[in-house]
């Protein structure tokens, strides 16, 4: 199954890539979509197998494929590690990727190179799957660079555009800077652990908790060095502050690419890496602190920039960067499962937002500047509604997915009860306000107000075709439900029944289990029914009326996707049903390995059950647990600031449209700073790019030509030719150089005599006559 889940995109890529001409665009689209959809189904099956399977012996396994490198102690194999963490990632990757594949059929319908595009998407999917299923650091690095390559190819997909090529190149090189750290981290891991296989590394990292490493001339705490080097890789790939400059530029790629690679999957690879290395990071508290600070600053800075941008895709890009910051500070406070939770929900709603934005761009004849939009919500109501869902999820409004995960992240930061944790919380709250603000700024600028586009563009505006809307509906379902459904599993406590669909059971009372399981089934059923009833209430015929009342409208949109919702809930029901069945099996076979709470309460749909050993947290660092008992105001503040942000955006962009200009005028310097993205690009350009090129020029012209050649061959030529002229003029060709070389040789021999130990000189002297003769013979 795991082979199917990982390699079908590769097969699809190879077919579409090599035989693209023969099978045509249609063929390529079919093959790649089929490949990824097969992979998606396979990974869902794996999800059931691994996460919802309570057979303790059969949950995580590694499939060895073949040897990659075998050099002394350094042995690396191609392998697929299937455990909770990789399965969650596989599901996210494959589902989002399948949506994006299908969406691309519609979005790229006017492009002449459809087949190539689809092939690249599949290549990306494969590389990403190799990354998350790696059982050693080097295979992870393979996937890591592989997704970088796919990203490079896709950003520069429109390769006639200068800006696209520049952005692609920048993305690759900036990522390489991060990879520089990652590569060193892999080497350091090998030196300390004697292996780069996860199995060995995670077995007992505690034994290296006090090991020192001699690095860059100093002795450092080994695990901290390793973790920081790995983190450097994550900073590059996940666009954290410092190495983030490539991400906004990456928006040069077609929008489906932005959704898949630069929002949902590739950029979360860094989060995955650190979550994967949680057993090691737990013993490197200083590294965790650095991660927290970077994450918090990224969340904040990106949000400030997001508020000032006009390109709709760039706004979402900065929002992505900001949300990644959330994930990182969650990791930093040891709330790995919260980070993964936010990763998962974010994948859905951000992909939805991007693809929605793509629909807008598609409808507006490739216009991306929000200043040229406005007044189009009536023309594309479905896209509009879907954007609303995405925005609500992003702003963290209940009951949308983002609410659960973002709150969890913030609560965990608070619960860390440390200076950096509190710092992250404050930064996170500030960013949450800005997030809500810029999201609604985007919504209002894009869809409301007076139309600012040309008449020609306005007359062309049309709702996207079904092939584009369907994937959006799938993602919207995720953006609505993923938070509520998976809250318990990802971050829910095993000790309290606080997850919405948690199943509490008393180990001592068999009836209770069944009762609770049934109860849960009913819950799900009633939810299903709720949707059914809402379907009965036909949506108002006049869509415009419905939109007056936002909440109603969203519901209507959801109704349109009832089929998907139903399917999802049914799938969920199965999941729950299966879980209940398995629980029963466990109890009957009296397996004691199930997490047992002191009180004798075990909640099945809890993070312990969900993650098992895939994520390791030291008990004293367990902020996710502590997050469940933070003060009420800590829990509610994010929602409050989110609502404030939305309100602020309404004020500034709907009711009192003069406000933005006034604010900009008053806070001119700050706005300049934000608007120019804190001047990272020009500074980097001056410090690194220009310096490198200048150095290259100096090395070449002065170093190579003047110094080395000047004193070397050219100089020799000059000297020797004048020398030769002085001596005689009958020598032609290169004979005089021979002479010169012989002289140099003579000098060396003489110096050898001078420096040689005495006895050797004697030996040489004895043999020298014979030697010279022999030399002549040769």
């Amino acid at each position: 199954m795991e082979l199917l889940a990982v390699f079908s995109p590769l097969v699809a890529f190879l077919i579409a890539g090599i035989f693209g001409k023969k099978i045509g665009d249609k063929g390529a689209q079919f093959v790649t979509c089929a490949g990824v959809i097969i992979a998606a189904f396979s990974s869902v099956i794996l999800f059931f197998d691994v996460i919802l399977n309570l057979d303790i012996n059969n949950e995580a396994y590694t499939t060895i494929l073949m040897t990659w490198i075998d050099s002394g102690d350094f042995k690396v194999k191609w392998a697929l590690r299937i455990d909770q963490l990789s399965v969650v990632m596989m599901c996210v990757i494959n589902i989002v990727s399948a949506c994006v594949h299908v969406y691309s059929i519609g979005y790229m319908s006017h492009d002449p190179a459809k087949g190539r595009f689809m092939a690249y998407l599949s290549l990306f999917t494969f590389a990403m799957l190799m990354l998350v299923t790696a059982d050693n650091l080097l295979q992870l690095f393979f996937g890591w660079e592989g997704v970088g390559l796919a990203s490079y190819l896709l950003i520069g997909f429109w390769n006639h555009k200068h800006s696209a090529n520049a952005a692609a190149q920048k993305a690759f090189i900036v990522n390489r800077v991060g990879d520089f750290g990652l590569a060193l981290g892999i080497m350091a891991t090998f030196v300390i652990f004697g292996s780069i296989e996860f199995e060995t590394i995670f077995k007992d990292p505690a034994q290296y908790a006090h090991t020192m490493i001699h690095f860059m001339g100093y002795d450092f705490h080994a695990l901290t060095v390793i973790c920081l080097l790995l983190f450097m890789g994550a900073v590059g790939k996940s666009a954290q502050l410092g190495l983030h400059t490539w991400l906004p530029d990456a928006m040069e790629g077609p929008t489906p690419v932005s959704a898949l690679i630069h929002a949902a999957t590739m950029v979360t690879a860094g989060v995955f890496l650190i979550a994967r290395f949680s057993p090691v990071f737990e013993y490197a508290p200083n590294a965790l602190m650095v991660v927290t600070i970077f994450g918090a600053l990224t969340a904040f800075v990106a949000a400030t920039i997001g508020m000032t941008q006009y390109d709709i895709k760039r706004v979402i890009a900065y929002s992505t960067m900001s949300q990644l910051g959330y994930m990182f500070f969650a990791l930093g406070v040891s709330a790995y499962s919260a980070a993964m939770f936010h990763l998962m929900t974010h994948a859905f709603f951000k992909a939805l937002l991007f693809l929605g934005a793509g629909s807008v761009i598609h409808a507006m004849s490739d216009e991306q500047d929000m200043r040229n939009m406005g007044g189009i919500w009536k023309k594309i109501p479905l896209t509009y509604g879907l954007m609303w869902i995405g925005s609500l999820a992003l702003a963290g409004i209940p009951p949308f997915a983002g609410f659960f995960s973002k709150d969890m992240v913030l609560e965990a930061a608070w619960a860390d009860n440390s200076a950096v944790g509190t710092f992250a919380y404050i930064m996170g709250i500030a960013a949450a306000f800005m997030t809500a603000f810029y999201t609604w700024r985007m919504l209002l600028m894009t869809f409301h107000g007076q139309p600012r586009a040309s008449k020609k563009v306005m007359s062309h505006i049309h709702e996207s075709p079904m092939v584009m809307l369907l994937p959006l509906l799938v993602l919207a379902t995720g953006a609505v439900l993923a938070g509520a459904v998976f809250y318990g599993g990802f971050v829910g406590s095993a000790h309290h029944n606080d997850g919405k669909i948690s199943t509490a059971l008393l180990l001592h009372d068999e009836n209770a289990h069944e009762e609770i399981a049934e109860h849960k089934m009913e819950d799900v059923k009633s939810e299903t029914e709720k949707h059914d009833t809402s379907e009965i209430q036909q949506p108002p015929e006049n869509g415009a009326e419905a939109i007056v009342q936002k909440a109603e409208e969203i519901k209507d949109i959801v109704v349109e996707g009832t089929e998907q919702v139903d399917a999802f809930v049914k799938e969920n029901a199965e999941e729950v049903g299966e879980a209940a069945g398995v629980v029963k099996a466990i109890i009957s076979s009296e397996v004691k390995d199930v997490t047992e709470a002191p009180e004798g309460h075990v909640i099945l749909w809890s993070r312990d059950f969900f993650w098992h050993d895939a994520i390791k947290v030291l008990p004293e660092n367990d902020t996710v647990e502590a997050a469940h008992s933070v003060p009420e105001w800590v829990k509610h503040l994010p929602l409050l600031v989110g609502l404030l942000g939305i309100g602020g955006a309404y004020l500034a962009y709907m009711f009192y449209t003069g406000i933005p200009a006034t604010v900009v005028r008053i806070f001119k310097p700050i706005h300049t700073l934000f608007f120019n993205k804190w001047f990272f690009d020009p500074i980097y350009d001056a410090v690194f790019v220009k310096t490198a090129i200048r150095l290259g020029g100096v090395f070449w012209r002065v170093g190579d030509k003047t110094m080395i050649d000047g004193f070397g061959p050219d100089g020799v030529a000059k000297v020797s030719s004048s020398f030769a002229k002085l001596l005689s003029r009958f020598q032609t060709g290169y004979v005089y150089q021979y002479a010169l070389v012989m002289m140099i040789a003579l000098v060396v021999i003489i110096s050898w005599f001078v420096f040689k130990d005495q006895n050797l000189v004697q030996t040489f002297a004895q043999n020298s006559s014979a030697h010279v003769e022999g030399g002549n013979v040769l």
Partner: protein, 512 residues
């Protein structure tokens, strides 16, 4: 009893060359003569490939010693022997030489029009000497082949080269000759001191540390020039720029490996203490080479020059890896040499493809080739990525293993050297972008035809090799494990035997 297969592989091309020399035709029949000559050369070199495969098939990877050995007395009075043999370290170099020659002949098929006969003779002689270099087990014999290679190469650049060929070949000659003379002196000294020039015998001798250092320096002068290492690298860009495509292919593919091979064959086993003594020096030179030449490559306007400088940087990883004296470092270095042999050869062929069409190597004259040459774009990209060291291509394995070795020896050096992966990506991507992507600025460039069947046939095996070695590296390292382990074990012995142990490797580990 095995047939003397190494001798066959050395003499077959020479016989072929002799046959080519006898091909004559009526006046005005030059075309026919050229055709016959090309066919002769091509099939001759294919025979060598067949023999090399036979050699490979019968090679025992578990045996760390020399195999297929042949030993005949050469100069009885002087005790010199014609001694051949291959071990795990050299066998892939023999294979590489055998494989690249037919590719070179194909690559010259249409582009060489003058003096075809002499050209092919030069290549046949070149092949013979290359194989001889990598299979010689006698110091003097090695020297003959090692220097003999220069002669056909010198002619190829000097006769079929570009406009500044005289300057380039002069520079090439001057540099390498300087090293050669010193090496000859060192070899003679060894011969005088130890009474033999037989390499396996010399490996068992313990030479006085003082003498070792001198010998080491002399050998180093020769090998460093051949590598080439910074700062004696400036002959390479000029030689490449002026050489015809096939000349560049052999130069980058095989000739550059002779230096690294020399280190492994002479410096480490015969002068182990001196090697350890000089290791930091070599490693720092390597790091300088990596960073310096990568930066220089970044500002090049000539495609060949850029790739030539990138070769110097890649060879920096080789010398770095060798002088870490770790299993990973040395295996990585050898892997890097083989991989670079394929990738850089292919890159020069890529340049050749467009040079044949537009007769310029200036990067600025191209652009937007992906439109009219999509297949070429794909091929070029594969080798570009191999050069960048993308995991999954052969370029990655060698680079990473060398760096891993370096990290164990000295983390500072490793960290500096690893910046090469960033710079390497920079110059290659810049090159690729300017040539392949962007708008089509030049009409002539925009009307160039995509790859011909012949070109595809040339590239296909190279593409497959790049991926095969990149995904399943034991194909190379299997044969390396035993001899490299042996070599390191011998070096450790000598390190312990060293009274004033100037151990240069600061192990960066410390479990606890």
């Amino acid at each position: 009893m095995m047939p003397p297969i190494l001798s066959i592989m050395i003499f077959l091309p020479l016989i072929c060359a002799a046959m080519i020399a006898t091909v004559r035709g009526e006046k005005g029949d030059e075309v026919l003569v050229a055709k016959n000559v090309k066919h002769l050369a091509f099939f001759g070199s294919l025979f060598v490939v067949a023999f090399s495969l036979f050699l490979y098939a019968n090679f025992d990877p578990a045996n760390p010693g020399f195999q297929f050995t042949e030993k005949y007395s050469w100069f009885k009075t002087a005790g010199l022997n014609y001694h051949l043999g291959v071990d795990g370290i050299s066998i892939y170099f023999v294979l590489l030489s055998a494989f690249l020659t037919p590719i070179c002949i194909l690559a010259s098929w249409n582009s060489v029009k003058t003096r075809v006969k002499e050209y092919m003779i030069a290549f046949m002689v070149l092949e013979s000497f290359m194989i001889g270099t990598f299979s010689a087990l006698d110091g003097i014999l090695f020297y003959v082949f090692f220097e003999g290679v220069l002669i056909p190469m010198f002619l190829i650049i000097g006769i079929w080269g570009g406009p500044r060929r005289v300057y380039a070949s002069y520079k090439f000659f001057l540099y390498t000759l300087l090293g050669s003379v010193l090496m000859l002196i060192a070899l003679l000294t060894l011969y005088v001191q130890e009474g033999t020039s037989d390499i396996p015998e010399l490996m068992d001798r313990h030479i006085d540390i003082g003498l070792q250092k001198w010998l080491w320096v002399a050998f180093f002068a020769s090998f460093a020039v051949k590598m080439p290492m910074w700062p004696v690298h400036t002959w390479l860009p000029d030689a490449h720029v002026e050489a015809p495509t096939a000349g560049s292919v052999i130069l980058a593919g095989v000739l550059l490996k002779m230096g690294g091979y020399g280190f492994l064959r002479f410096s480490l086993p015969i002068m182990p203490d001196a090697s350890i003594y000089f290791a930091p020096f070599v490693m720092w030179l390597s790091v300088i080479a990596i960073i310096y030449t990568s930066l220089v490559a970044l500002v090049q306007e000539d495609m060949k020059k850029l790739i030539a400088y990138s070769s110097v940087a890649h060879m920096g990883f080789v010398t770095l890896g060798i002088f870490t004296f770790t299993q990973q470092g040395i295996e990585g270095a050898i892997f890097q040499m083989i991989s670079h042999g394929v990738i850089s050869a292919a890159l020069f062929l890529c340049v050749g493809v467009v040079y044949d069409r537009l007769h310029t190597r200036e990067i600025g004259r191209y652009g937007g080739l992906v439109k009219n040459m999509p297949k070429y774009a794909v091929v070029f990209m594969i080798f570009m990525l191999g050069s960048v060291g993308l995991p999954g291509t052969s370029g990655f394995v060698g680079e990473f293993l060398s760096l891993l070795g370096a990290f164990q020896a000295d983390t500072i050096i490793a960290a500096f050297a690893t910046t090469g992966v960033v710079l390497g990506a920079a110059y290659m991507l810049v090159l690729y972008r300017r040539v392949i992507f962007g708008p089509q600025g030049n009409k002539d460039a925009a009307s160039m035809k995509d790859l011909t069947m012949m070109e595809k046939a040339i590239f296909l095996p190279l593409v497959l090799l790049v991926f095969y070695m990149g995904i399943y590296s034991p194909v190379i390292t299997n044969v390396l494990n035993a001899p490299v382990q042996n070599m390191i074990a011998d070096m450790n012995v000598s390190k312990e035997a060293l009274p004033h142990n100037e151990a240069t490797m600061e192990k960066g580990d410390h479990h606890g």
